[in-house]
């Protein structure tokens, strides 16, 4: 089998990348390989609204947002294969399996990695206790409720205040369950403020910051969990234990980009994001292999995924058309104080589409601070921000003409007041 571009994953990133690549060059043969029975990825189970404000200027639910992209896909005649699992990736081929073709290899000019992410499971959190039924990651529960139409339980405690956990607190409440508490290990929530108000406060669900689950009870099905307050080092404080009876524990404790294929292909991974190291074109350390969406770094907003993926898709199209990369000076993007990572981490000015957006996350909560951008040590941007938190992605936009001065290094840092 042959294709110009193979897109691994048909969720929001894969759809946007495919569409953008087709629009860049409508002669290209683009193939999406999707492991589930339908396109749209995680959007299918995100039935809440809040998607699309940046992309379509209206508030859509996840399935509606996905459907907009799917109809463009059809108009552009982009090929896709469902129930197809990719097994192996290199710069010029992708091997996959499905029930019709068996194991097959697609030879291609470029690959875009759009595998998304997975949830951190109970085991990776080292939560003590028994292992009864009734412990779910929030996303698994979301799939069961919203797609399969089944209730995971009726009395719920949620560990972790990530957005999926908050959304599920409301969702379970609407479906008649009692959500008794949301515990967050950190002294601040990892979720969006809007979700805390509209998913917890609206329903009087307590958010217990600096709390964690220290025991799970119940042999067959969860019967209760024990929670406790934690100190600054996240260690449970003796004497603060509280047992809460419940039949369900949902976990919303972080997302991990699914880069097993990328690692096996030899793509360089940034330990701060667990995603590939990419340049301005979203190209990984392997020429012709691009990455975007949550496989690259975990996003809060799907609109940003779509936008980045569009750039990745166009870059892949140009890579195929030009039979390789342009060569030009490379600017390093460095993260300074308070910045955990940046995407991209290097820039070739010759390949820029226009202004450059650099996205990043902070390593902690900063109030009344400044985001600083320095070109070779010289201040270029000094922007005041009332608050910066790890839970919300930040961005700076660098003007194309400014970059033409081609510094050798761009440093981004947070300066406390």
């Amino acid at each position: 089998m042959k294709a110009d571009i193979v897109i691994v994953g048909g969720g929001p990133a894969g759809l946007a990348a495919a569409i953008a690549a087709a629009k860049e060059d409508n002669t290209l043969d683009i193939l999406i390989l999707e492991r589930d029975h339908e396109l749209g990825g995680i959007l299918n189970q995100c039935i809440h609204n809040g998607f699309g404000l940046h992309t379509f200027n209206e508030e859509l639910t996840g399935p509606e947002y996905a459907a907009r992209f799917e109809s463009q896909l059809d108009e552009l005649g982009i090929r896709y294969m469902l129930d197809t699992m990719v097994l192996d990736v290199s710069s010029n081929s992708v091997t996959a399996v499905n029930s019709k073709e068996g194991v097959f290899t697609v030879e291609c000019g470029a690959v875009v990695l759009c595998m998304g992410c997975r949830e951190r499971p109970r085991g990776a959190l080292n939560i003590p206790g028994l292992r009864p039924a009734g412990v779910f990651t929030a996303g698994t529960a979301q799939r069961l409720v919203n797609i399969e139409g089944y209730m995971p339980g009726k009395e719920v405690v949620i560990l972790g205040s990530g957005d999926i956990g908050l959304i599920m607190a409301r969702r379970m409440t609407l479906e008649g369950a009692k959500v008794k508490a949301v515990c967050e290990l950190m002294p601040y929530s990892g979720g969006l403020k809007r979700n805390i108000v509209q998913c917890l406060d609206d329903f009087d669900i307590p958010l217990l910051l600096s709390h964690t689950v220290i025991d799970i009870k119940g042999k067959e099905r969860v019967t209760s969990v024990v929670i406790a307050e934690v100190d600054e080092r996240a260690k449970p404080i003796p004497g603060t234990e509280q047992e809460i009876s419940c039949d369900t524990l949902l976990l919303s404790c972080g997302l991990i980009p699914e880069n097993e294929l990328s690692r096996e292909a030899g793509v360089e991974i940034n330990p701060a994001t667990n995603g590939p190291v990419v340049n301005e074109s979203f190209e990984t350390s392997i020429p012709g292999v691009f990455a975007c969406g949550n496989v690259l770094h975990v996003h809060d907003l799907v609109d940003y995924v779509s936008e980045e993926s569009g750039r990745a898709g166009r870059s892949a199209a140009r890579y195929v058309k030009n039979k390789g990369n342009g060569s030009g000076p490379v600017i390093k993007v460095k993260n300074g104080a308070g910045v955990r990572y940046t995407v991209p981490s290097s820039v070739r000015t010759s390949e820029l589409e226009g202004d450059l957006i650099i996205r990043f996350r902070s390593g902690g909560v900063y109030r009344d601070s400044y985001i600083d951008v320095l070109f070779d040590g010289v201040s270029k941007i000094h922007r005041r921000k009332p608050i910066i938190t790890p839970g919300e992605m930040e961005q700076v936009i660098l003007k194309n003409e400014d970059l033409e001065q081609a510094p050798s290094e761009i440093l981004i840092r947070i300066t406390e007041n």
Binding site: G149, Q198, P386
Partner: protein, 121 residues
């Protein structure tokens, strides 16, 4: 005079805003750090509304539940009445996105529409 406490949702600051009211009149808004916070607080105390998103039963479809939403936000206090009405209702495949499934949900005057398409089984 009545004091209402709110958390602003416009940004991660999450300003705690206190709105002082006399009947339906807003006397003062305190605690916000920007104009967006002021506007949010005024709307939230006068007419708090929410879009309800949930699922509804489908008959004769390739799946038996699909997602749906209130086409416009409904008054916050009506959320559970809306849920009750949706839980009782069902629709018949095929359904297209945007199809009206309940014309006037729980007396809000607002329809419930499909957010996902479903083909017949």
């Amino acid at each position: 005079m009545e004091k209402r406490e709110l958390t602003c949702i416009n940004c991660p600051m999450g300003c705690r805003i206190t709105v002082t009211m006399q009947g339906d009149d807003i006397i003062s808004v305190e605690g916000n750090t920007c104009k967006r916070g002021y506007l949010y607080a005024c709307n939230e105390v006068r007419t708090p509304v929410r879009t309800v998103t949930t699922t509804i039963r489908v008959e004769g479809g390739e799946v038996d539940r699909i997602s749906c939403k209130t086409k416009e936000p409904v008054p916050k206090e009506k959320i559970f009445e809306v849920m009750e009405a949706v839980n009782k209702a069902s629709c018949r495949a095929p359904v297209a996105i945007g199809d009206v499934l309940i014309p006037d949900c729980a007396g809000t005057g607002i329809p419930v529409v499909a957010t996902k398409a479903v083909s017949p089984a």
